[in-house]
Structures are given as structure tokens and as C-alpha cells.
């Protein structure tokens, strides 16, 4: 089984997810600058998820290159990851359109956590030795913390999501080294 098609399919799904998220930026009927103001939270929510999906695409790219082989279980582990990622447009829009209310912020963490777990499972199924994967352990822990803490204060939840994004924006040197 060749990697090309699993890559192409995953790229297709992630590319579409990124792009349909932008459809939630509903076009205002008014041509005034003020008509953009209610869109600011939707835009920020979109920006956050764009970065997350970019990170997943990026890491997925490295992961598949590092994978020694792909079997039937890997195809399903990959689809499992794509399933949770496919819920990002929903949680992103719900969070943005409700101005980062505590419930949608918390649910955003639930889906992020499930996607992170699915990514971990995919790594294991692919047989990739991720060594002492600090980032891979910290991220789900931060998501798990954000789920209840968003009810205490929604800004805590959001701060945790931004923290995860910043952690991952630094390219994954571990896997890059593995190639070199």
C-alpha cells in the first residue's frame, strides 16, 4: 500500500476543512466598516483553527514520511483522525458566533482533545518511534485542562489553546532529524 494516496486524501480533507471554515464569515449586507465588527470573534476563531489545522497538516506530513509502512489499520486510524478534525468547522463557528462563550470554548477543547488522541493513536499504529514526545504529551494535557477551566473563566481555556498553538508552531525537529 503506497503512502501517496493516504497523503492525497488527508490533504484533500484538511484543505477543504480549512476552506469551508471561512464560509462562516457571513458576508454582511451593509457596506460600512462597522458591519465587520460582529465578525471579529468569528475571524479570530477562524484564525485559531486555521493554525491548528495547519499544524496537523504539517505534522501529518512529517509523520507519514517517517512511517516505515502503511497497513489497513493505519488507513482507519487516519480516517479516525480526519473525523475529529472534520468537526473543527462546527466548533470553530459555534465558538466564534457566540463570542467565545464558556460552553463552546469548552466543547472546542473536547474536539481538540479527541483529535490529539486520534493523532497519538495514528502515530502508534504507524509504528513511528516518537521518542520522548514532550509536545505530544503536553498538548492533550492542556486540552484536558481547558475543558473544565473554561467554565471557571473562558479566557483560561482560550489561553491554553493559544499556548498549544504556539508550542507547535515551532517545527518538529525530532522527526526532521530522523530523516537527516
Amino acid at each position: 500500500m503506497h503512502k501517496g494516496r493516504i497523503e492525497a486524501f488527508s490533504d484533500g480533507v484538511i484543505a477543504i476543512l480549512i476552506t469551508i471554515m471561512v464560509l462562516e464569515l457571513h458576508v454582511p449586507k451593509s457596506p460600512h466598516v462597522g458591519a465587520l465588527r460582529p465578525l471579529v470573534p468569528v475571524f479570530l476563531s477562524y484564525l485559531l483553527s486555521f493554525v491548528f489545522l495547519g499544524i496537523y497538516w504539517n505534522n501529518h506530513h512529517h509523520l507519514l514520511q517517517a512511517a516505515p509502512h502503511i497497513n489497513g489499520a493505519a488507513l482507519w486510524a487516519n480516517l479516525h483522525l480526519l473525523f475529529w478534525l472534520s468537526l473543527f468547522p462546527f466548533t470553530t463557528a459555534w465558538m466564534g458566533e457566540n463570542h467565545f462563550d464558556k460552553v463552546p470554548v469548552s466543547i472546542y477543547g473536547v474536539v481538540s482533545l479527541l483529535a490529539a488522541i486520534a493523532y497519538y493513536v495514528l502515530q502508534r499504529v504507524l509504528g513511528v518511534d516518537v521518542g520522548r514526545d514532550i509536545k505530544g504529551l503536553v498538548s492533550p494535557a492542556l486540552y484536558a485542562a481547558a475543558i473544565p477551566l473554561s467554565f471557571v473563566n473562558r479566557w483560561i481555556g482560550l489561553a491554553l489553546y493559544v499556548t498549544v498553538a504556539l508550542i507547535w508552531l515551532i517545527p518538529d525537529r525530532r522527526l526532521e532529524k530522523q530523516f537527516a
Copy 2:
């Protein structure tokens, strides 16, 4: 005629179908957890169809790899399959939004049956020897049974669809063996 482009096109269509299905999870205006409750049947319907389209993508992947050659008829047999698959977002949303009412559940079976027949035709056109294809015979039989039985009790229809999904979640060893 090379297989790469028929694979890429099919992947593209299936990736888009999977992703636009999620658009039917309409974002609630309210930020309360209770606002998610009416979405539960839509979500479950999406989950079922995500698994079905994942199965098709998976099997399609194996099928094309096993195909000795691709001719003009195969391109059309493939488009025929994609046509029926393209109706999944419609039947999925109709079933979910009407809380699995008997009529949409039955129609879901009609489209599933037509897609299964199209897949069978594609196998034949590609000249792939599928041997004693138990799954390939049982699936359309279960769909055909679900169409009338959904009118008796919609849960029978749904149980049959879930049964088909479970049957196929086990990777297709026949074709995998054929390579090895």
C-alpha cells in the same frame, strides 16, 4: 491510461463529500449545551455516512491497486459510483434532520444499494477477480432488505446499515492477499 488520475479524482470527490456532510451540523445560535441536543441525530447520521464513505474510499483504494488496467469504460463505471456516493450528503442530512423517520431511513437504503451495485459494476469492468465475495453479496442484500423493513420499523433499517458498516470495518484481506 494511468491509474493515478482516476484515484486522485475519486479521492477528491470522496474527500469533499465527507467534508460537506459536516455542513449539515448547523451551528446553533445559542451557546448553551442544550442547543447541541437537536443535533444529536444529525451527528449520528453523519457518523454513519462518514464510516460508509471511509469504507468506500478504503475499498476503492485496494480495488484500483488490484486492477490490471483501466479503460474508458472503467472511467465511466467510476463516475457512476461517484454519482451515487454524491447523494450521501442529501440522504444523510434528510435522515438526521428528521430524526431517523422511516421514509428517509428507507431512501438512505435505496441510495446505499445503488452505490453498492455501482461498486460491483466497477469491479467487473476493472476485471478484478473478487473470488467468493461474501461481503460484496451480503451488503446489497442487507440494503435491499432495509428498504421495505424500514417501513415496518425504522430501527430495523438502521440496525441493518450498522451491520453492513461493521462487516466492512474489517479490512479486505482478500485484496490485500492478492498483492502479497
Copy 3:
């Protein structure tokens, strides 16, 4: 310049066009069979355009394989074709939702004609010798005839579109021979 990327991009656009057309099959709020009846013309219109876009994908596939080389002009000739194809979801939905009224049926022919001309231009730019291209000449002629004749009787226009579809459903032996 390699052909792979122009193929991939065109496949992507055509795959998305085919798939977003199906979004015009608006999900009925009622679970009754009768709720499907108003969708019949939308469905038939979708079916017609699915076949047309399938034909374009199919022929485009052969055309690029036959192309001796691809230059900058070819990239633009290809985008020009994709532009007219991108209007198919609009004309398809307008025609279907207005039950094949004469004006949308005629406009459907206008866009089809412009797409056919764009395909012809692409062939020329690619330097593909299409020989005595009977189909390639008959199709735009039938579209051109359908534009005014749809005002006489809309069924004439539709009959002409179906005729073009049937003509092209037969695989393009000319180009296939050219390879062999």
C-alpha cells in the same frame, strides 16, 4: 513545466464543482416521500450536469495525455475552461429550481457553448491534432442552436443537451488510438 500539477488542479476544481452542485438538492424539512417531488427537476438538472462535467473530466484526461508539452499559455487556456465550467452549478441550479423554464434552459446553453469554445481553444494551445473532430464541431453547434430554440420550446433545448451528452458518452477513440 510538468503536466501533473495542471491535471491535479483541474481535477480538484472539477471534483469540487460536481460535489457542490449536489448542495442545491436542499434537504426537505418534511420526512414524507411527497417532499421529494419538488426536487425531481433539480435532481434531473444535476444528473445532466454531472454527466457533462464527467465528460469534460474524461476528455480533459485524454487531452492532457496527448499534449506534447505545456506552456504558460496552456495554463491560462486551462483556467479559462475552468472558469466557464465553474458556472455550471449556477446554471444547473437555476434551471432545476425553475422547472426547466425557457430562459434558464437557454442560459444553460450559453455557458455550455462558452465552455465548449474554451475547450477547443485549449486543444489548439496544447498543439493537439484532433483530426477531423466531428464531435468537437457538432457539440458547440448544437449548443448554439439550443440557445434560441429554447425560447421556441424549452424541450428542444433540453433534447439538444441530452443529445450532446449521449454523443460524448462514447469514449473518444481518436485520442485513445493516438496513444496505442
Copy 4:
């Protein structure tokens, strides 16, 4: 890291962006020709953005081919470009639906400028020597000029956008030469 996947992903995103823009051509309920008139500005706005995204796809194609290597920073520089491009459907629709009002016309320039800057950054990160890149310097200058001038007269802004489009429609000989 191979170029193929960054190309495929970018192609996917651009193909989807081009195609979802056309969804803003809302299908009229009336079958009369007059129902198309309010769509004219939306159509023209779509046409402009189709050309711009076509130019980006085209130049991106050449750019990646000229790139000596791709590193982690390039993946992010590419995602940064795709982010600004992803806002084109929004600015395009806002401008079209408000009949090219001065504010949306100006905002269209803001997003265009940010995309142009992102493209410049990508070129630098990829290590491509773009020589005396006249077009690459003139385009953002024209966008920057259009942002305030659209408030003076919206037609000035639009004229500047059309000018940029025309400048780029001529294929990029610099990079083409670099290959030959």
C-alpha cells in the same frame, strides 16, 4: 521534504477557494432574464478574483519549481499565504453584493496587499532569487495605493486592481527562463 505534497495541498486550497466563490452567485428564484441583473456586480467581482487566484496558482506553480529546497519555515510561509488567499471569497462577495461600494473595495485591497506580502515572504523563505522583480514590487504598491484611493473614488481602486491583474496575466518569463 518533497515539494509534491506542498503543491498538492496549495492546489487543493486554491481550487476550493475558486470554486466556493461561485456559491455567492445566489440562484434567483425567478426564471426571468431580469433576475440576472442584480448578479452582474457579483459576477464581475467573482471574475476579478478568479483571475487573481489563477495568477497566484500560476506563479506559485513556477515558484515551487524554482525553489531549490523546502524546509519547515517554507511550509508555514506557504500556509501564511493560503490564509490571506482564503479571505478572498469573503472580500469578493462583500464587494460584489454591495455593488463595489468604497469600503469593501478598499478592504479588498487590504487583503490583496497582505496576500502579496505573504507571497513575497514565501519567495524569500524559499531562497528563490527573483532578480529585479518589477511586477512583485509594483503590485503591492498599487494595492497600497488603492486602499486610501478607493475612498476618494471607488473606480480608482478597481482600476488599480484590474491593472495588477493585467500586469500578471503576462506569464512570468523570469522564472520560465531560469528553468530553460
